[in-house]
């Protein structure tokens, strides 16, 4: 069985993710098969596109329950970009939409208080969350990655976790601070695209794969 199962719910281009995993020497399978997902050792929920389309696809393909079942088994899951946002309680993208509610918090639109453009497109740094000291950085997913490193982002909506402790790393754009890496027990999420974030992105994927 492949080491990582990527959930196929028809959202986005996952070629670069597959290639990035291959580069770090990890086999992966791209599937919507509930049985394969439930039995996976590690799951990645990718995603590009709108929140409601993503959520609707998960529901229509009966994958919401499958993902929740997988999560309750205690095995690691990583949501990337839209895949991370779907883990939260709700999003305000074109009206209020319910998410998977696996990590508590919200997804709201950027409100830059300077001339920053939306979508947030390009490289930005991940930092220790304000008031959280260094604690979050001891997490295994951040192993060999220093605060201040840059990752590639493309998004118009931002995540804020209800509990501060669920935010491992924060990023600031247009005067808005948002959660760029989140964790709730075995569930991880990153707003950036590790698969397009150079060597430091590969390190992040490798860290996820190495989680026991």
């Amino acid at each position: 069985m492949a080491e990582v199962v990527i959930v196929d719910y028809g959202c986005g281009n996952i070629q670069s993710l597959q290639r990035a995993l291959k580069r770090v020497g990890v086999s992966c399978e791209y599937t919507s098969n509930p049985k394969t997902i439930r039995q996976a050792k590690k799951v990645i929920l990718p995603g590009v596109g709108s929140y409601s389309t993503g959520m609707d696809s998960l529901e229509e393909m009966h994958l919401s329950e499958v993902i929740k079942d997988y999560v309750s088994s205690g095995k690691p899951l990583l949501g990337i970009c839209l895949g991370m946002q779907l883990l939260l309680d709700y999003s305000e993208e074109f009206g209020r939409h319910k998410g998977l509610g696996i990590v508590h918090g919200s997804v709201t639109r950027f409100m830059p208080n300077d001339n920053s453009k939306v979508p947030h497109t390009g490289w930005n740094s991940i930092e220790i969350p304000y008031g959280n000291e260094i604690k979050s950085w001891n997490d295994q997913i951040l192993s060999s990655i220093n605060p201040g490193k840059d990752y590639y982002f493309v998004h118009s909506y931002m995540v804020k976790t209800s509990k501060k402790s669920n935010t491992l790393a924060e990023t600031s754009y247009g005067g808005n601070n948002f959660s760029s890496i989140i964790r709730n027990n075995n569930v991880y999420g990153c707003q950036f695209h590790p698969e397009k974030s150079g060597q430091i992105g590969s390190q992040f994927l490798e860290n996820f794969v190495n989680i026991k």
Binding site: W123, N146, Y152
Partner: protein, 279 residues
Amino acid sequence: MNKIRVIPRLDIKGFNIIKGIHLEGLRVIGDPQEYATKYFLEGADEILYVDTVASLYGRNNLFDIVKKASENLSIPLCVAGGIRSIEDIKKLLHAGADKVSINTAAVQNPLLIKEASEYFGSQCIVVAIDYKLWPDDRFRSNLNKTVSKGKNEKFDSGFHYQVYTDNGRQQTGLEAYEWALKAVNLGAGEILLTSIDREGIRKGFEIDFTKKVSEAVSVPVIVGGGAGNAQDVVDVVKKGSADAVSIASILHYDDITISNLKEFMSKNGIPTANHYGSE
């Protein structure tokens, strides 16, 4: 200020990187994979591949080059040249591109921008605008009747910029500023703005027009055409409000490395991305 992306531009003809002046007069530079890898290791934030003869043949021929690149390089790859349909975009994304840049087909059929951005998401669709400075706006109705001149003169409202397609070979009668606004309204996720007058001559970017477009649109503007040294890059970011710079000659001819350029930008107060290992 947000981090400014440094994007090497690889103009491809057949199996080689080539470089010209004003998008013409081509000289062979070398192997795309070799150069792309070098730029990646130096800290490139993205790579732009342009099939320079694609529009002529009506198709993009970069699939193999892009596939090979995407297997080795973990930064966004943008591919341009001869992209005419949703099907063309699908094929390039499948080959490993993260974004496509559309020029000729977008001018011929602006609705392609809308269809493509709705289908793939705006983040995937860059609209490339190649333009030349014109002394007046008669090009709107009289194609080929006026003469391009005054490229060294300062921008004022009396000067106009005409959009060209087919890698700088074809006039369109479109005014570049208006076309940029329209492209963004139709869903373009980024605008790649290239001055043909300045392309390949290493005398600096077109600053005033870049500023005018960049401050008017809600999406990032990548500026191309004219980098002669690191100061030119600093100028077009600071004075021209560019969000990203596309660079070819000074990198291909080893005038500067990307790491040195980024260092120079940082010293001049322009933040750049650092995505190397844990050092």
